[in-house]
Symmetry: C2
Subunit: 359 residues, 2 copies
């Protein structure tokens, strides 16, 4: 049997009330007594039963997740992953609420954020580009005691409590090595695409990519980035034009989204499988293109993991508890056709339930 608070009290020769005071860091206990209790805790190997503690506290965690209203598959997949994770975490008194803001409107975002406190929220997770007005909004949230967590793209100068996502520079470097090694020693040109060169993650990816290319693969000529501004139309034109005019192009690094348009151009020009194409984020389209051969490799992050990590971090921050750094690290994953993770069947129930609410 696991030891309980009562066992500690007996072992330490103090009352339950004192044990409670020590465990919950309440004032009015002599150092000597504190030590006695802690000794008993160590001796008995006591571990507080968190489920019972939370039950007693009747703590619940309403969390806001704020995402841009982009219709991109990535954001959509992220939202899905968060919703999934949230519905499971509901059993642990989590209550996740998704909010969307107009992608290009920092003021609307700020208004949304400042409206959050007072509505019972215990924390906020946020995916957004950094702007001065956002910085202020985040500061004000934190001043009101709400932890703020940056999602996918970091907000380093806002005082956010935590960043959940990959190191984009390292991701860019990884794309670089793959590109370099896959292209081999023959000189070639590499096209780089990104919807906007202002976004922090794009800049960092590009920096990491260039770093490796310059250092390790001098035979490769990396062309200046092409901006697509999120438009499939633009991307198609720009890429088609480049591929037609620069016959030395043997690799494409797509830093942003617009994968569908890219795949189309490649197909139309009959170049599927003949180029090394590396992009980010394993969305359904990208998965298909990997299988089809239009895309060679994908640098991605596990959105399920990211979503669950978000919930754990928000919760830990709300309770002011430490994090398990190893668990919260979002890895940079490399996906090729050969290690494409199978799509888990959502109906993978491995056991029946006595009643349909028990799970």
């Amino acid at each position: 049997m696991r030891p309980t608070v009562n066992d500690i009290a007996r072992e330490a020769g103090v009352s339950l009330a004192t044990v409670d005071r020590v465990l919950n860091a309440r004032p009015g206990v002599r150092d000597k007594t504190i030590r006695a209790v802690n000794d008993a805790i160590v001796k008995l190997g006591y571990v507080r039963d968190l489920t019972a503690a939370n039950l007693a506290r009747s703590r619940n965690y309403r969390m806001a997740v704020v995402l841009p209203d982009t219709e991109s598959q990535f954001v959509q997949s992220l939202a899905d992953a968060l919703t999934d994770a949230g519905s499971i975490a509901a059993a642990a008194r989590m209550d996740l609420r998704l909010h969307r803001f107009p992608a290009e409107d920092p003021h609307a975002l700020a208004a949304l954020l400042t409206g959050l406190p007072g509505r019972g929220y215990a924390g906020v997770a946020l995916m957004a580009p950094e702007t001065p007005i956002l910085r202020d909004a985040i500061r004000s949230l934190r001043a009101k005691g709400l932890p703020v967590v940056a999602l996918v793209s970091d907000l380093p100068n806002t005082g956010r409590d935590h960043f959940i996502g990959t190191d984009n520079r390292a991701a860019g470097r990884t794309a670089g090595v793959l590109m370099g090694r896959f292209l081999g020693p023959t000189p070639a040109q590499v096209l780089v695409l990104g919807q906007s060169l202002l976004a922090r993650d794009m800049i960092e990816r590009r920096r990491g990519f260039d770093e490796v290319m310059l250092r390790d693969f001098p035979q490769l000529d990396v062309l200046p980035s092409l901006e697509t501004h999120g438009s499939g139309q633009t991307l198609r034109h720009v890429v088609a034009e480049r591929l037609a005019n620069a016959p030395g192009v043997r690799g494409i690094y797509a830093m942003g989204d617009g994968h569908r348009a890219l795949t189309q151009v490649i197909d139309e020009m009959g170049l599927s499988g003949k180029l090394v194409v590396i992009c980010h984020e394993l969305t359904p389209h990208v998965r298909q293109a990997l299988e089809g051969g239009e895309i060679t490799a994908v640098i991605t992050q596990n959105l399920g993991h990211l979503a669950r990590s978000t919930l754990r971090v928000l919760r830990a921050k709300a309770d002011n508890l430490p994090l398990d750094a190893g668990q919260e690290q979002i890895r940079i994953e490399i996906v090729l056709r050969e290690n494409l993770p199978p799509i888990p069947d959502s109906a993978a129930l491995s056991a029946a339930e006595p009643t349909d609410t028990a799970a």
Copy 2:
């Protein structure tokens, strides 16, 4: 506020006792009443508070983890990861016990396993090669109601409840593509090492590797596997001899362990960075060799994830609950020097704790 059993009782116009009977599928309730209660549950959106339920049940989960007593870094890292995960899960009434068995003694293993029931265990996770006697032991465990989970290497013909690990065939394929693409179009020879060609995982890796090599990289000549039988000595000799006599060898695929010896040979022959070396499992040695350039790429699985997954699966099986298939999938990770995950500092406490036991 989340609805509770009391709310259901009120809504359905029945007593608490009846709600309890319905929720826990106890006998003696009319169909009509059951329906009324279920309607109330749906209407209020009731979700049973699992933590409170488990508390009331005073359910605890003593789980056995059985590993070979190999001194390999991989098994050691796995044991560490499991211990870590176990100590965290202790807060959720988990009680993980590690057992080791003599690696080459199936009888000792079987004896260990058959001794487990009756000692309060609720489940077993096991990493071991499949033998007939093991099959029987597992069947007998399951007959006694203990779920059995295979770790790292699957035990498909034993009726185990679940397998936690990667698809070794796909891992071999992944190693194959990397080898092929990294070596480029120039003809070359590839050395394959494995400690024993009888182990299921080795066979599957080799099969996946060959599959890709034959199909996609005909210019590469994959030499027959060399068996090292887990001896660093043997490995050193064999590899040195081959490298000296076969100047066309430009790639090494190390399917098993013995990475330390391999790194040494490569260093001694001044071949660091000149060969494409691909191996499995990111142990501390391998990490070092990746940074040093002796090893080019590693196919690995996240042991922290694997350990946590093990606990979740054991628990779900013990409670006969469904699994989140997506979460429990162990991915095949590709690690290069550029995306080497940083070692999380174990003292990465992001917040102070009132007492050192509260987490």
